[in-house]
Symmetry: C2
Subunit: 110 residues, 2 copies
DNA sequence: ATGGTATATAACTGAGGGGGTATGCAATGG
DNA sequence: CCATTGCATACCCCCTCAGTTATATACCAT
């Protein structure tokens, strides 16, 4: 799974909200739609995208569909982030490398 | 800065590639366009978006514009990810909380 | 059977944005 | 000065995709 696809999924606030809501535990389509102010078809469509990207798994219970968050896509983001962490994490080694970077950061943004 | 805006920026492979390229150090528009196979106007447009989101800062040097990667937006992603890390990080505490989650994960995806 | 509930999907529409081409503009080097 | 380089922006087209409405399907209750 391409990490840019993961970013694309999270780029929409609605889908991001679904992911955040599912952190509390599994939920049905109706619950998600109600909690987030989405129409039922729209919630289903977003969940379809999330499902295709591995963000959620589904479990059938009568007519209900219980959606549950899965770790893998977010873990991919975490891995993708790894080579950038030196930029903000304080570490005693590599300190020298950061000094000139800090010097360049003296002029702030617009 | 909204984190979904950060995700939206990274959703495009071209912009993600620019970010990855800038990890090696500052670069000019022409260098980025050449290295990534983008037209110059397109590179400028993407860099404009990256700039508006705080991903990069610019430094003028004659006609050249040196773009440099800034940590803040990626750091925001890192922070956003924090409450999800328990899902894949192995920790001796909280182990009990994860057992039922593992049990639910026994049925695999499609 | 029948009506109601829960969800998925199809068809449609509108807007946003990526990408191209053309142009403007500043700074440089003869 | 004048041509060139480096970059930004304006304008345009087109395609994708979010969101709506309507419908199909499956399951439950009585």
């Amino acid at each position: 799974m391409e990490v840019s696809a993961v970013f694309e999924v999270l780029a929409l606030p609605a889908r991001q909200a679904i992911v955040e809501r599912l952190r509390e535990g599994p939920a049905t389509v109706g619950e998600l739609a109600g909690a987030l102010g989405l129409s039922q078809p729209l919630a289903s469509k977003h969940l379809r995208v999330l499902r295709d990207c591995g963000f959620v798994s589904v479990r059938a219970d009568a007519q209900r569909r219980w959606y549950e968050l899965r770790p893998e896509p977010l873990r991919e983001v975490d891995r993708w982030l790894e080579p950038y962490r030196w930029m903000w994490e304080e570490r005693l080694d590599r300190l020298g490398d950061r000094l000139d970077a800090m010097a360049r950061h003296e002029d702030e943004e617009e």
